[in-house]
Amino acid sequence: MLLQTLVTGLAIGGVYALMAVGYSLVFSILNFSNFAHGVIIMLGAYFGYYLCSSLGLGIGASMLGAMIGTAVISILNEKLAYRPLRLRKAVPLYFMISAMGAAMFLENMVYVTVGSHFYSYPSFFTGSISIGGAYVGLLDIVALSISTFFIILLTLFLNKTMMGTAIRAASRDMLVASTLGVNIDGLLMVVFALAGGFAGIAGVFLGVKYLVYPTMGVITNKAYIAAVIGGIGSLPGAIVGGLILGLVESFVSAYISTTLRDVFSFSMLIILLLVLPSGLFGKTLDEKL
């Protein structure tokens, strides 16, 4: 039971981590919580679903297609909902409200066009592997490996390339970075494309693992908490936060009560913020929303 709980916790935490990365990436540059991220994950699940069930593509090609789709939506989201605010030098609060608006708009667009039906992906990576009596879903292993691979790729990109350096510079101070010749519009396009791409991967995994439906983005609330626990704006923080949250949830469910699980996750969030206001790995910022 202990091992099974641990494995389940890691598997759930891995999904949270993947989603939390998108939140942190945008937060690190623009200092606001992009609540449209959950809806973009949902769209990723729909893109992937149509590619593999209607066009009969494999899981790899569907995921790639979904990533491109969500990257485009994410860039459009920035251009239409955030850029005008940025040009008017609005405070982060307005960005967050605009993000919520974008989320509601996109979710309702799905209701109107696709409807509220539940969809299920064709079966991929079914079956499970036994490790010392605990069962690990094959899908969980694949999801965790692919997530790790992309997170490593992202870390390399941020640390080893010119564009990555510019992004890190802008996350310290956007104004200074732009005076030193960084093209902020272009840079944000890359950041949102990356966040969108990660949303695409997360969406496809969520879809394959669970179901596809318009309100599935709600689960990203948990990912957001994970990002905050880890210190929003920090990539390692997002990953560690995701894993911690997954483990806590799984242990509370197994040893205390399933119905009390969320009470524990949210209490943990509040207590952690009281002790460490910027999370585990967060940098101290003046404005956090």
Binding site: M1, S123, S128, Y210, L211
Partner: protein, 411 residues
């Protein structure tokens, strides 16, 4: 064929009521289907006299429950057609007025208000969901318009939860949750030979919580053991934590009184962590999308239904009307058909469209022949039908399959 049979039955009911004979049900039952078909086809087009009788249909034509609603609408249309072909009610034509509830309480209030205030209907059929039906109760009670709910299985639809008083104008045509819990528990224990079972239910849903309790009580009463009872909150996607706990107790059967979406996910995840139990569910499983969502994980599972298209008794009716159903055919159509026959009989016996008189006759219905049974009886104290059959279904080759009609021993 049975549609015509039903039509002839209604003609006979009409004639019998004119000559004041009370033994209506038997009179209809002795007519052979073959002769009734001939009689019906040789009848000239019925001529109606007087104002039409307006029946309101409050139904979820759009929204989450539209699969059920669309099928229910078609079923009721067929019933009204049959009644009219048999000469209508009291010699008057029956007209159907539909109002979309979207399975939403607020929309339902609007829809039922429109039916009562603007359309001036004489009776209402529909409002398939328990929680939603409760929102319509105050309106129909104030207007004294009888309402027959099709699939609301919560006991408190016909009875006021606070006062325990009977809702005089609210009726239902399906069985209730305690009966459903008892039936599933007894079927599992007696027919499947299962001695120990676990339950996983949704703590945020009244339906799920009560059905879990009823199953638990009946299963223990039958002599079984409940090895574990776990809960989750509405909207949950990952059930591996509670399932892991259930796995420790290795139950032979896992009872899942939950929605088809949750059931599909739970079955999948349970099989992933190698839970080998038989899965069993309530009537919420009867939505065909459980097959595409659950795939091989729901294979071999059992659930209980309020009605079945594979019921041998109604096979002929289903064959005859298959073309009328555009999408999936679900049980609501059958229940709506039964409700219409019940209502038609009651209005006929009431001799008027006065809501109070109709309600009294609905309440006093005895041994009425409807689509699904020869003797449909109503408990006047609760407005619930008595001895309603429970249809045990299984999932085989990714399709619903009728197993048997099960009558639990109720104490």
């Amino acid at each position: 064929m049975i549609k015509r049979f039903g039509a002839v039955l209604l003609v006979m009911l009409f004639l019998i009521s004119l000559i004041g004979c009370g033994n209506a049900g038997n009179g209809g039952a002795t007519t052979s289907p073959a002769t009734s078909a001939q009689t019906a086809s040789s009848d000239p087009a019925p001529s109606f006299s007087g104002e039409p009788i307006k029946i309101g249909h409050a139904v979820a034509l759009t929204g989450d429950a539209s699969v059920f609603g669309q099928s229910e609408a078609t079923g009721l249309e067929l019933a009204v057609k049959a009644v009219n072909e048999a000469g209508g009610i009291l010699g008057r034509e029956v007209v159907l007025v539909k109002a979309d509830t979207r399975a939403d309480p607020a929309e339902t209030v609007n829809a039922v208000r429109r039916l009562v205030d603007q359309e001036k209907v004489h009776a209402i059929i529909g409002v398939a969901q328990s929680g939603v039906a409760m929102s319509a109760t105050p309106i129909v009670t104030a207007a004294k318009i009888p309402m027959i709910s099709t699939t609301s299985s919560n006991p408190y639809v016909t009875i006021n939860k606070e006062t325990g008083a009977l809702n005089k104008y609210v009726f239902r045509v399906c069985f209730i949750d305690p009966y459903q819990g008892t039936a599933t528990a007894q079927y599992a224990f007696k027919e499947l030979g299962v001695k120990n079972a676990a339950i996983l239910y949704d703590v945020g849903s009244d339906y799920s919580q009560w059905l879990a309790t009823y199953f638990e009580e009946a299963f223990i009463a039958a002599g079984g053991t409940i090895t574990g009872k776990e809960a989750y909150r509405t909207g949950e996607l990952d059930f591996r934590a509670p399932l892991g706990k259930i796995k420790e107790t290795s139950p032979e059967l896992l009872f899942l009184p939950v929605t088809q979406k949750d059931a599909a996910l739970i079955c999948k995840q349970a099989r992933d962590i190698k839970i080998e139990s038989i899965f069993m569910g309530g009537d919420n499983w009867a939505s065909p999308d459980i097959l595409s969502l659950g795939k091989e994980a729901v294979e071999g599972a059992y659930f209980i239904n309020l009605a079945s298209f594979d019921d041998p008794r109604i096979k002929g009716w289903v064959e005859e009307n298959k073309s009328a159903f555009k999408g999936d055919v679900v049980r609501n159509a059958i229940l709506a058909y039964d409700a219409m026959l019940w209502l038609a009989d009651s209005i006929e016996r009431a001799g008027s469209t006065d809501g109070e008189k109709i309600a009294t006759e609905l309440e006093n219905t005895k041994d009425l022949e409807v689509l699904t049974t020869d003797s449909f009886n109503v408990d006047p104290a609760t407005h619930n039908p008595l001895d309603r059959a429970a249809y045990i279904m299984t999932i085989e080759n990714n399709a619903f399959k009728y197993v048997m009609t099960f009558a639990p021993a109720v104490n």
